[in-house]
Symmetry: C2
């Protein structure tokens, strides 16, 4: 589609361009706009049907939105903002530089401006910051017929009309009903007789991650957001919950690989930002690895006598690191999805410990066989296999225990368990496993240090 | 709520129990049922209102469903199955042991059985296997009024009524309309005048992960599934797409930590299964690490002369591993979310290379300072800092290049990029970095090997 658009622009065939844009899907159009140069972007945007432009605008990448806002006139900005849903408008404003924010708010109509500011006052990542205030409210005294009339009258600007919220005089949420329920009842049924009174609500201050989990659990299309006094203030819709889910997942992937999380696209992140997000952890982990180096220095005598000991260092370090990251990943994800709770700590540890001994023993046996094959002429080959086998079992036990317990400890300390992932666990386990390795070697091989 | 239920069971107060269950949310009830013993489970399930039991059943964990099916009579099973949505019934059957499958299918009514078998014939993880065949279809000649009548008549058993699909005589999909659109138009408007003809469709054979991505992009509540001839066969709803998203994400987390993915809950996975999922990669990686050991053995002379060289092995290995897993995570996730495409390979590599040199240089400088401080009296301290600094820069460049390119290579080879994550990259980078390290040391320090 992008090539088609480019071609029509270069031909200046605005009539066919307009037709093409009228038929196309909004998400697809905005994807094309993200790729266009400034002038072309403004041309295309002005060709869009007025009533569809705002929806297409909402799908665009933040930097395309920024480009476009700086290209449009005050009047045009006002038109787009008035058509945007309040949550999308608030999102837009939180991403723009200050001078554009002023222009946007100046050109919004007063009512919209008030609603946007309302949402902007909620802390980042709270339910309040992702909700929209545009929902359908009903009274319980209405009939189904009257409810439909109300939806027809006010529904056009609402983000969803399928879930309707029943409020009392003080805007307390007393029930919820769906258009499906309305359709399945006679026109003269009262709302109070069909509404569901047991409503699951979200609080404005709830974390957005918790909100996303509730959507995963309850399968709703929208959920009501209430303030401290159960007064309805807005709704979160399922598409916003999906966005939160993707965002939080990407953050976890990044944290678990030892990077500062960022919600920008990789392709659009600058080299300096990538460097900045990565170097802190790299430095921290490099300096932590110094401890392993210091331990090795203490055992110089050991490998001066038995040089082959050095050649097993990488294998032991890798085995420990991999064992640890398997466990930490399971526990971090388990905590994130509420599959594992803190009260399960002992059960989880016990499980990991048994798996660790089984894995460690398997590695020890396979490695023993390998040593027999690779060094058939060494007189100390059995002793060597024993030293390394024992190290592998203890290292696996230690690595899996840390992998299981450190994320839980982080949770207790109100830190994000995702920081206790592979990079950190590997570095900590390295130090311990090398220490264990040389101690076992010195002991079993009777080396004087 | 669970305690309340347990208490009422022990008091045998079935009247209050029934009231409690009538008011409660279905997802919450099923969560409680997952925790109950066999007898209690059957008691509670029989107390549930008939029309709600199937919905609550659909929310349960597979093993609770299995327990329950074996406790219920044939008649009761038949009732539940007839109320279940077809996609949930098909899910149920694909999770049950063979003897229960036979019982379930025997007790389903013939029409339902046919529909279930229809869905079961699609390959696992395809759009066909997660769709439901229960949707509202309309003709383009109907008026809005007639459309509402049809929805009222057939809507009760449909998974969603909000999106209606307009089919021609041969069941080809020719348009789509929403209840919101219907509500916003007069009762005598024809469907053909308001339907959207440009419909985004899913093919039955599309991968479920692609389907989930389309929901993330287009923000739809449901999407139509068509066969090879554009004949409509079913719909996928947003709640199923959310389930796929969570499932695929957890799989990626597990693969990226070197484990065979499993879609069972951690708490319910047996120790043997955990062992089995983990040991294969551990063994593979341990044996790969042997190469690093062989390289070290070749340079015994080097560290016999300069023993301190050994103490930097862990730090170099960790730095390389961490650099590599940062890059591979970014690229694997970028590929998974379509932020990075294969045609960007060179751009991505170039970006990673620059970041690598910046990170490597920073590590080299900090490490140089550390060596000056820790070993002020060594005459070769500058040379040592140079050897290690140079190794760090080359290792970072190599690690980040592999981290960027191996996931892309996997994608070209039609493998899952997620297998090219931290564990594998770390092991490969280890071997290379140790080789580079000793070569630089031998060269710069003029050691004869």
């Amino acid at each position: 589609m992008l090539e088609k658009i480019m071609e029509l622009i270069s031909l200046k065939d605005f009539k066919r361009l307009k037709e093409l844009l009228e038929d196309a899907n909004h998400a697809d159009i905005s994807e094309c706009l993200d790729e266009l140069q400034d002038e072309d972007l403004a041309i295309i945007f002005r060709l869009l049907p007025k009533d569809e432009a705002a929806d297409i605008f909402a799908y665009m990448e933040p930097d395309t939105q920024e480009k476009l806002v700086s290209l449009l006139s005050d009047k045009e900005i006002g038109e787009v903002i008035s058509e945007l849903f309040v949550d999308d408008a608030a999102d837009l404003i939180s991403e723009m530089p200050a001078n554009l924010v002023t222009r946007i708010l100046k050109n919004a109509d007063p009512q919209k401006r008030k609603e946007i500011n309302e949402i902007l006052k909620y802390p980042e990542d709270s339910a309040g910051s992702i909700m929209t205030t545009e929902y359908v409210d009903l009274r319980d005294s209405l009939t189904v017929k009257e409810a439909f009339d109300r939806i027809r009258a006010i529904g056009l600007d609402k983000e969803t009309v399928y879930i309707c919220y029943v409020l009392d005089n003080s805007r307390h949420l007393i029930g919820v009903t769906t258009v499906k329920d309305l359709l399945m009842h006679d026109y003269d049924t009262k709302i109070r007789d069909i509404m569901e009174e047991n409503v699951v609500t979200i609080n404005t201050t709830d974390d957005q991650e918790e909100v996303a989990k509730m959507f995963d659990k309850y399968d709703y299309l929208a959920m009501p957001v209430v303030d401290g006094e159960n007064r309805m203030v807005g709704i979160v819709t399922v598409d916003d919950a999906i966005d939160v889910m993707s965002e939080e997942n990407e953050e976890d992937f990044e944290k678990m690989a030892g990077m500062a999380p960022s919600d920008e696209s990789y392709m659009k992140t600058s080299i300096f930002t990538l460097y900045k997000n990565r170097i802190v952890w790299l430095l921290f982990l490099m300096l932590s690895a110094t401890f392993t180096g210091i331990i090795i220095t203490r055992y110089e005598e050991a490998f001066a006598h038995v040089a082959i000991l050095v050649s097993f260092i990488p294998m032991i370090m890798d085995a420990g690191g991999n064992c640890g990251s398997q466990s930490s990943t399971m526990v971090i994800r388990g905590l994130a999805t509420d599959d594992i709770e803190l009260k399960d700590a002992f059960k989880v540890w016990a499980k990991e410990a048994v798996v660790a001994v089984m894995c460690g023993a398997t590695l020890a046996v396979v490695n023993g066989v390998r040593i027999m094959i690779m060094y058939p002429d060494r007189p100390d080959k059995l002793l060597l296999a024993a030293v390394i086998g024992l190290t592998l079992i203890i290292t696996a036990l230690l690595a899996k225990s840390m992998g299981a317990l450190l994320p839980m400890l982080a949770k207790i300390l109100k830190m994000d368990p995702a920081t206790m992932a592979s990079p950190l666990i590997t570095t900590v386990v390295d130090t311990c496993s090398i220490f264990i390795y040389f101690n076992i070697a010195v002991l079993l091989m009777h080396i004087a240090v």
